[in-house]
């Protein structure tokens, strides 16, 4: 059970006011707010344990190292990775995708090969593949989007063949809320021995992730979308694949031996973590994972589904409001357009009512093109949002209509 009032006490920012109105924060797909537990973990690290990791023999260095590596273990167990060696710390999902593009895909990609993505990808799971495809003369293939916001899985057999070297797919759409049938795509790809990368940026905070059950080859996510600090993220990869990959960046910590004649690279995952890592980020991420685990991902999922259903019902009752994307299985993201009113005007007016929504193309311009719209207004809910807040949102939308009438 989610006790939302108790939870809200853990998030100091939720009791702040904007323009004299209580903040209603529903831009959680962009980034989530942080609970005190995460702030305390970082404060505690700085106050009692902070130093550089992996190299020092002194007390604090060992303490920091054990917290940093403990965070890696915590993440591995959270997504049920078979080993912590498959967990690479990165800046965020974007860097993880870029790492796979340059260290895994680029060395094996040849002219005439293909990369399969979908029409609903965030630019971060599109542009890195486009860049490597252009560099190597490979083709970017697209799983098309259907009018209801689902992917057209019937197109898969024609898109998958031996020339495809990687499938990269979002687990949950950041602009439509669609939760994709990734198991279906993974099993189809694996029949042809094609590895699959899942972009978990949106799914990670809303559902239990089991990378072994999914059998995905790569899984990427950003810490800041799961109540952890900005600047920390995770690349999970099957150890066997990671083992064969080239280093991403050169520097300290990713080496075993360096001479001017050559360098012997460190083991996985350290080979991919050049330079001093984001120790406080990793510690904050572990604390955030503890926090959501204590609430329970099943409880979170159930609460958010109920709240989303309530919002959906209230929104569809508004005249001239059209919800973009209506896939049967969706998360707590609702995108909409108001007839005759541009989303940026909607966003500004709702902001003055204290409601923080996202307006724009949400870094998914191909999705906007598919629906022939320039932008949407997006509400993305967290377990700390309430039904009362939905009512405030509805009232704010009515105010938009009144003012722009």
């Amino acid at each position: 059970m989610i006790d939302v009032n108790k939870i809200r006490e853990d998030f100091p920012i939720l009791s702040t006011e904007v323009y004299g109105k209580r903040l209603v924060y529903v831009d959680n797909a962009a980034t989530t707010q942080k609970p005190k537990q995460v702030m305390d973990a970082i404060q505690d690290l700085y106050s009692t344990s902070y130093s550089n990791v992996h190299r020092g023999v002194h007390f604090l260095s060992q303490k920091s190292t054990s917290l940093f590596e403990g965070a890696r273990d915590r993440i591995a167990s959270f997504i049920n990775a078979s080993s912590s060696k498959g967990i690479v710390f990165v800046k965020g999902a974007t860097e993880a995708v870029n790492l796979v593009a340059s260290s895994y895909l680029e060395p094996i990609l040849s002219q005439g090969d293909a990369i399969l993505i979908s029409e609903m990808e965030h630019h971060s799971n599109l542009v890195p593949w486009q860049m490597v495809a252009e560099k190597k003369g490979a083709e970017l293939r697209i799983i098309p989007l259907k009018e209801n916001g689902d992917l057209d899985y019937d197109a898969l057999p024609n898109l998958l063949d031996d020339s495809v070297k990687l499938v990269a797919l979002t687990h949950m759409s950041n602009s439509l809320g669609t939760i994709n049938q990734v198991e279906k795509v993974i099993s189809s790809a694996h029949k042809l021995n094609i590895p699959v990368l899942l972009d978990g940026a949106q799914s990670i905070a809303h559902m239990a992730i089991d990378v072994q059950a999914l059998d995905c080859d790569f899984f990427v996510f950003s810490g800041h979308k799961i109540y952890a600090p900005t600047g920390i993220g995770v690349l999970y990869a099957k150890s066997k694949i990671l083992q064969g990959m080239q280093p991403y960046q050169g520097g300290g910590d990713m080496i075993l031996n360096v001479s001017f004649e050559g360098t012997e690279y460190n083991d996985i995952p350290y080979r991919f973590e050049a330079g001093t890592p984001n120790v406080e980020g990793a510690v904050g991420l572990a604390a955030a994972i503890d926090y959501v685990s204590d609430l329970g991902l099943e409880n979170i999922d159930q609460y958010e589904r109920e709240l989303t259903a309530y919002a959906y019902e209230k929104l569809t009752a508004i005249d001239g409001l059209r919800i973009i994307g209506d896939a049967p299985n969706r998360g707590s993201i609702i995108s909409f357009v108001l007839e005759g009113i541009h989303p940026h005007d909607v966003g500004t007016i709702m902001d003055m009512e204290g409601v923080a929504v996202r307006t724009g193309h949400h870094c998914t311009q191909p999705v906007m093109d598919c629906y022939h719209i320039p932008a949407t207004t997006r509400i993305s809910l967290s377990f700390y949002n309430t039904a009362e807040e939905i009512d405030i949102i509805i009232a704010a939308i009515k105010k938009v209509k009144e003012l722009m009438g």
Partner: protein, 150 residues
Amino acid sequence: MSELRELYQEVILDHNKRPRNFKELDPHSHHASGHNPLCGDKLELYLLVENDIIKDISFIGSGCAISTSSASLMTEFLKGKSLSTTKALFEHFHDLVTGTEISADQLEELGKLAIFAGVQEFPARVKCASLSWHTLMNALEAPEETAQTE
């Protein structure tokens, strides 16, 4: 709500609903495309300049109420103005929406456009109001280029 009323004044709402000079201009002497990559606002601006005077000016495109009405009011206001006056007006308008101090005389020169003063309270929307003006400057200085406000 008062800042909002200040931003979304009747004139602005009217020009958003019924933009003036909303057409392609044929023939035209100058043309530029404007694009705000952050919000997807797009506009095409056309000018017919003769002897350094803007004989005619028009636009087409899609955008929010602020950017559409700003383009509409701009075209209405600049018809018949000289290029040197236009450039001075660009500076004054820019100062107005960014909240830079302008003199009473300069404000008076802006005439009807002074209603965009409300934008300065909304820093995220300054680029909406100024997109058509940046596109105008591009059209005059380097025709056929895409203006970007970011």
